[in-house]
């Protein structure tokens, strides 16, 4: 059974206060705590390595899968392989996320390798939250690898957030899109203390009229460091847009690296990056409403990361 700490982590990463509806697999301290499958969604443990296969039947609509992971044992290190096989004409929501509580001296690390095979004309909404807590010396480390293979006409919307408490992250996301497929990514990131976060996206637009929009909003506080790299490869007539918008504070360090790679005259690729401190006039406006400078700053940041 899960304890209080694990339950709090679950609420943070998956908004779960009780067992979710639909299919789920809950992993706590390296063990599958609870699992539920439905008529359309099957979850099978891998036999060769740690992880699960999630198989979603053709035509599955309005169903969801929750696969939260919580770690509360200091020093636990794991690499987990989860593969999602999503059939054709589906419309599903997948909620992942990892919460680490580390109150010990040893580093805790969860490296999730997620692969998505999205069938023709399917729509997938993917939500992933990362969260860390605990006051131990041990680090909380998360290195997610996400691979997305989209078949013709599919639509994937990924929302990835890491707002608090993760000491070190290297996020690697790769996607390959077939004809008419669309990938939307919204990343929200906040780093503080000495945290380091790297996020690398590579999206290959291989099919005609495929498109992608990769949007990152981040806030770097204290002496934290962020590196955002977005590479979009346009191999045919396609549309790609990447945007990195960062607020830098204190002694933080933020790097944005755009890479656009067009192999076709009809590939329209755009990259926008902006790094700057909180605009003075925004602070002033909120202060004229009676907020202190600190309160104004908090409002601006929480709005920005919404």
């Amino acid at each position: 059974m899960m304890d209080e700490i694990q339950r709090k982590l679950m609420a943070e990463v998956a908004d779960l206060h009780s067992m979710p509806e639909g299919a789920y697999n809950i992993r706590a301290n390296g063990i599958s705590e609870a699992r539920n499958t439905t008529a359309n969604i099957d979850i099978i443990s891998k036999t060769d390595k740690s992880g699960i296969d999630i198989r979603i039947k053709d035509g599955t609509k309005k169903e969801s899968v929750h696969i939260p992971v919580v770690l509360s044992e200091s020093g636990l290190k794991e690499t987990v392989y989860n593969d999602f096989y999503i059939g054709e004409d589906c419309d599903v929501t997948i909620v992942a996320g990892c919460g680490i509580h580390n109150s010990g001296a040893k580093d805790s690390e969860h490296d999730g390798v997620h692969r998505f095979f999205v069938g023709k004309n399917s729509r997938v909404r993917y939500v992933e939250k990362h969260y860390g807590q605990g006051d131990g010396m041990g680090k909380r480390i998360l290195n997610p690898v996400t691979e997305v293979y989209q078949e013709a006409g599919s639509y994937v919307d990924m929302e990835m957030a890491q707002i608090k408490g993760v000491d070190s992250t290297v996020r690697t996301t790769k996607a390959e899109l077939a004809e008419g497929a669309t990938l939307i990514v919204h990343e929200r990131l906040m780093t503080h203390g000495e945290q380091k976060a790297t996020s690398v996206y590579t999206v290959e637009l291989n099919g005609e009229h495929s498109s992608t929009d990769v949007i990152s909003r981040s806030v770097a506080k204290d002496a934290s460091e962020q590196i955002f790299e977005a590479a979009i490869v346009g191999n045919t007539v396609c549309n790609g847009h990447a945007e990195c918008d960062a607020i830098i504070m204190d002694k933080a360090h933020v790097v944005a690296i755009p890479r656009l790679d067009a192999n076709n005259v009809d590939a329209a690729l755009i990259h926008e990056a902006a790094i700057g401190k909180i605009a003075g006039d925004q602070l002033i406006k909120l202060m004229t409403l009676g907020l202190s400078e600190k309160e104004a700053e908090e409002q601006i940041i929480s709005g920005f990361l919404r």
Binding site: Q282, K285, M287, L289, S292, G303, L305, R306
Partner: protein, 243 residues
């Protein structure tokens, strides 16, 4: 009562000191409706920002209801009861209209109450309440939301910097009603910076600021005919060039 006593504001640029406001004196009585006007670059917006504490005065004192607020910051002045609608409203990423109105009102007002403020500035609340206060809003819409934040605060002193700029003709009458309402409902003191004759017409008092100082101040009936009779701004500029 708001008293501005011998206030100067100067900025340093390279080795030069540029005077923006010089020895300005102005008293605004309680419940008064004062319109400040004058040529572009005369120092009106700067004065408003000195009142709100956005800029520090270089010299002089500012008193609010007898209390010296010269050294107070923006937040403290806001809490003492001064509100300010900027000439150029600020954009935010991610902050919604409803958030701004809630922050302004200082309490957790309901959506309905927030909508009420929008209606008063002539915006269909349903369409705007959940919008982000960003560049996707038109200039006039942002201006109205800016005014609504001041209404939501409901403080004793309200300063509006060219509130009518960019607002269409139909709404003008409603806007004037908004100002009259502030005076009636909360017995507030309203200071409006404006170039508009129709706003000048509803003032109790008119103040003309030029070259960083009060050039004229008096009751509307006295000043307005005089102002409308003066040579055009263009003539002024030309005569200055000729000097």
């Amino acid at each position: 009562m708001l008293e501005i006593k011998n206030v100067s504001y100067r900025v340093e640029e390279q080795d030069a000191v540029i005077p923006i406001i010089e020895h300005l004196n102005l008293t605004v009585g309680d419940g008064k409706f004062v319109v400040i006007t004058g040529p572009n670059g005369g120092g009106k917006s700067t004065l408003a920002k000195l009142i709100m504490g956005v800029y520090p005065v270089t010299e002089g004192r500012i008193l609010l209801d007898g209390e010296d607020i010269t050294e107070l910051g923006i937040t403290e002045r806001a809490k003492l009861g001064i509100s300010f609608a900027f000439q150029q409203p600020v954009h935010f990423k991610g902050i919604k209209v409803v958030d701004l109105l809630r922050l302004a009102s200082g309490s957790r007002i309901t959506i309905n109450q927030a909508c009420e403020y929008l209606s008063r500035v002539g915006l269909c609340a349903r369409d705007y309440i959940q919008r982000e206060v960003n560049a996707s809003l038109s200039g006039g819409e942002l201006k109205r939301i800016e005014i609504a934040t001041v209404l939501a605060r409901g403080t004793k002193y309200s300063v509006f910097d060219e509130p009518e700029a960019g607002i269409d003709l139909w709404s003008f009458q409603n806007l004037i009603r908004v100002f009259e309402n502030i005076r009636e409902s909360i017995q507030g003191t309203v200071i409006i910076i404006s170039h508009q004759e129709r706003i000048l017409q509803i003032a109790d008092e008119i103040v003309v600021i030029e070259d960083g100082a009060v050039k004229r101040q008096g009751p509307r009936d006295e000043l307005l005919p005089e102002l409308l009779g003066t040579p055009s701004a263009a003539n002024n500029a030309c005569s200055r060039l000729a000097d």
